[in-house]
Symmetry: C2
Subunit: 133 residues, 2 copies
């Protein structure tokens, strides 16, 4: 991995996945699950849990870039816009800096709306991978 | 909510939940799933996905403190120590600051090992709740 290297992945979630995430984690906030409740909020319809949206970074860094064996050291997340089900988003992970001695890298981690390119999640991660960094 | 208010919750995850999380998010990093692979790492056995561990904050803030209707604006996470299945952890969420005009609060979000009180996840969240902040 070198500074500037990057990885992009399009993804989407379904309402079934949101319900599975709510069951798994216990976060049954009706903002994510109840269309009537959500219709009375500024979002108008249920939004995806922020942590579920951000899990795309865990998938990318743990299985694709840098991949297997990656250890998460930190993650900063700013939830700039709501994420909705059945909507295509694009995750962008870009290397800012590497420390080959420590096998660590800082990466910019972003989610954009795929249709509008608007920034949905912004953030930065620090990861370690002894074989790949 | 006032500065200093806080909420504590003991929790634990099972390997079945880790497997469900891997399927749901696509993060099939063998560090979380494969005992043979994990035995050759510094952790010696599979560790819980950091994002799954951090989901306890989403549960607490979305359903308990401040609860229903909470909107996540940001979350910073430092993964200080590995989390293991079938181990009891304690989540601590404490109010640092509130802005009643904007209905926002910054909260310290931590996970400790329940037996040793060692810090496992450190971080800070910014949330909005129009009815409760």
């Amino acid at each position: 991995m070198e500074p500037g290297d990057n990885y992009q992945l399009e993804f989407r979630f379904t309402q079934n996945q949101v319900e599975d995430f709510a069951r798994l984690t216990g976060d049954s906030n009706p903002l994510h699950l109840d269309p009537d409740y959500a219709s009375r909020t500024l979002f108008k319809k249920p939004i995806i849990h922020g942590v579920l949206g951000a899990s795309i970074f865990s998938k990318i860094m743990g299985t694709l870039f840098p991949g297997e064996g990656t250890i998460y050291l930190s993650q900063q997340l700013e939830f700039k816009r709501p994420m909705y089900v059945d909507t295509t988003y694009k995750a962008l992970v870009q290397v800012n800096d590497t420390n080959p001695d420590k096998h660590t890298a800082t990466l910019t981690t972003r989610v954009l709306d795929n249709a509008t390119d608007k920034l949905v999640i912004d953030g930065e991660a620090l990861v370690m991978n002894r074989d790949r960094i």
